[in-house]
């Protein structure tokens, strides 16, 4: 019979998630799986609930996209019912078959060292972070370490924007206030953002303030289309890191089909390579 697979995520409305879910669905279509994609709109406890529902439905495998340590109750329920659960950009956990993801630490290292190099290791940097979300939180840990290692880099502000609106508008408002408070040219050397939306907001603020010629370096992470376009146009937004979302989705589907076939997966994590995106390769896919 057709295999039934459930994909459960609290973050479907985020651009990255959509890409790997789509890639997963595309792979699933080839394999003739019946895929049920479930979004809990930000509610993590609801992910547990949905896992339980899927256990009730006796699906063949579950793919989750959430910090597994927060849904262990659900993972346990699946384990008790002998339903395999694969992490897709989730986190490592003994209850997961494996976790297919990009290396968040590595991505943050790429952009933060890019910033440090570009500003010659000195000047004021504004950071946009979001620590309540574990995959984004690990990025700022690395960036903090990198900037901390340069004695002349000063983190001027560490802003947690309101993400309810997607992150662009509130980041822009925050950046505008910071620009107003630091009016001298050169008083802000760089903006490091833990993901692309705040970088885009910061870019808009800098352009609106007419300060695009001060050479403020902006970096993001995720390489969403809007970010790629901004980088390609040669403005202050200089770099981001492309996760291979489609690769993650496809690799997760691959893992699922191996599990269904009865293979044992030994690696606790499957890393899918990432790529630094600058003006040189922004328009290439």
């Amino acid at each position: 019979a057709q295999s039934k697979i459930a994909v459960i995520t609290p973050y479907l409305s985020q651009p990255g998630t959509q890409f790997y879910v789509e890639a997963f669905q595309a792979a699933a279509a080839d394999k003739d799986w019946d895929v049920n994609v479930i979004d809990t709109a930000g509610d993590v406890a609801a992910v547990i609930s949905r896992i339980e529902d899927m256990v009730t439905q006796n699906v063949d495998a579950i793919v989750v996209n959430v910090d597994p340590s927060q849904v262990s109750a659900g993972l346990q329920a699946a384990a008790d019912a002998a339903i395999p659960v694969v992490g897709m950009d989730a986190g490592s956990d003994p209850l997961l078959v494996t976790n297919v993801t990009s290396n968040g630490y590595a991505m943050a290292a790429e952009t933060s060292t890019y910033v440090a190099d570009r500003i010659d290791g000195e000047g004021n940097v504004v950071m946009f972070v979001f620590e309540a979300f574990p995959p984004v939180q690990v990025r700022s840990v690395v960036a903090d370490a990198v900037f901390g290692n340069f004695p002349d880099i000063k983190v001027l502000d560490r802003v947690t924007p309101d993400v309810a609106d997607g992150g662009i508008a509130d980041s822009r408002a925050k950046m505008e206030a910071i620009l107003a408070a630091n009016p001298e040219p050169g008083s802000i050397k760089a903006v490091w953002a833990a993901w692309d939306q705040p970088a885009l907001g910061a870019l808009q603020a800098i352009e609106a303030a007419g300060r695009q010629d001060e050479g403020v370096v902006i970096t993001g992470i995720d390489a969403n289309p809007q970010a790629r376009e901004a980088i390609a146009s040669g403005g202050n937004f200089e770099a981001t890191v492309a996760q291979d979302f489609k690769g993650i989705g496809a690799a997760a589907a691959d893992v699922v089909s191996r599990v269904l076939a009865g293979d044992e997966i030994k690696q606790g994590v499957v890393y899918v390579p990432t790529k630094l995106i600058t003006i040189a390769n922004a328009t290439a896919d």
Partner: protein, 338 residues
């Protein structure tokens, strides 16, 4: 008052009785139809003890918050801060674990946070006289900021959360076997049932509760008759704060971690549950059993539609539409009252 139904106003008494039934039970009948639909479409998985216990466990935190919310909404007030309060209490209990407090002590202290936070809401509203919306929105912001500060903005999870704490949410009361499957009443469901029972007694069977209804019905009359409006408001808000904290602790136990935003979806859903539930009562006043029904309906719709593999976005549209349809039956006929 005339309306689309006014032609019925002069019709035979049997029809009138039918309309009265529709008005009182319209919403219920609507949802019964939906249950039936799910049952038929999901013959093997929907109407099972397993599924219902699951739903009850999933909804338990929301049920606790909504029951608490009913207490202040009976007086015609709101508490917007319950979500932040739940997050803060979850963070508080987790942070207290990091300093190696025993479970009972950490839980009690976190409950105290809820009681005190709720009492502060009460003071702002009843003694200082700030509108409930403004006051609880301000405390929402403050409590959420506090949750971020206390946690450093991070999710607290892993070994700091004692096994005894997270296993509570996984455990339950064995109810024996049913159809060859062991049935367990989850502990979280049990907590929710106890809270609902307590709130029910409080609101429906004590002078305190009846006075809250009097305040909600006509605050001026209540005041003139010697009801100590301010004191009661303060107590009511303190109770709502405590239930919010309890829900936050339950949530932390269920996800074996605490995160400064994890309660944020509770507020709107709790208020929605109370309002939806109030359409079941004859005069439209909030009542705790109605609230629970309202909350369960939201949960059941989610469960059934998810099981039917309805796309998440379409599910949203359907949930909204079904609520409108179900509520319309009783609302339309309610016009006939006058």
């Amino acid at each position: 008052m005339r309306n689309v139904f006014s032609i019925f106003a002069t019709v035979a008494p049997q029809v009138n009785i039918m309309l009265t039934l529709l008005r009182r039970y319209g919403t219920l009948i609507g949802f019964a139809a939906i249950l039936l639909f799910f049952w038929i479409s999901l013959p093997d998985t929907f109407m099972t003890a397993r599924n219902w216990l699951n739903i009850s466990q999933q909804m338990s935190m929301l049920i606790v918050v909504a029951a608490g919310m009913t207490i202040v909404m009976v007086m015609g007030d709101f508490d917007l801060s319950v979500g932040s309060m739940a997050s803060l209490a979850g963070i508080a209990v987790a942070v207290l674990f990091t300093v190696d407090l025993p479970i009972w002590a950490a839980v009690s202290l976190a409950l105290m946070v809820g009681l005190v936070g709720g009492a502060i809401n009460g003071v702002l509203i009843s003694f200082i006289g700030i509108l409930p919306f403004v006051a609880t929105l301000a405390t929402l912001t403050m409590l959420s900021g506090l949750a971020f500060v206390v946690s450093g903005g991070k999710t607290i999870s892993g070994r700091v959360i004692p096994e005894g704490f997270s296993s509570f949410a996984r455990g339950g009361l064995s109810l024996g076997e049913w159809g060859g499957v062991a049935i367990t009443l989850p502990n979280l469901t049990l907590v929710a049932i106890v809270i609902v029972a307590l709130v029910w007694v409080l609101l429906e069977q004590t002078t305190f509760g009846r006075r809250l209804y009097a305040i909600g019905g006509n605050i001026e009359a209540a005041h003139l008759s010697g009801v100590a409006v301010r004191k009661l408001k303060l107590i009511a808000f303190a109770l709502t704060g405590s239930t919010a904290a309890l829900a936050g602790i339950m949530y932390a136990s269920r996800v074996a971690s605490a995160n400064p935003t994890q309660g944020s979806s509770l507020m709107l859903n709790a208020i929605a549950g109370v309002f939806l539930g109030s359409t079941f009562s004859e005069h439209g006043e909030p009542r705790v059993l109605g609230t629970i029904l309202g909350v369960l309906i939201l949960g059941i719709l989610d469960n059934g539609l998810t099981q039917l593999s309805v796309d998440s976005y379409i599910r949203q549209i359907l949930v909204g539409g079904i609520i409108i349809l179900a509520v319309s039956t009783s609302s339309l006929t309610k016009h006939l009252r006058s």
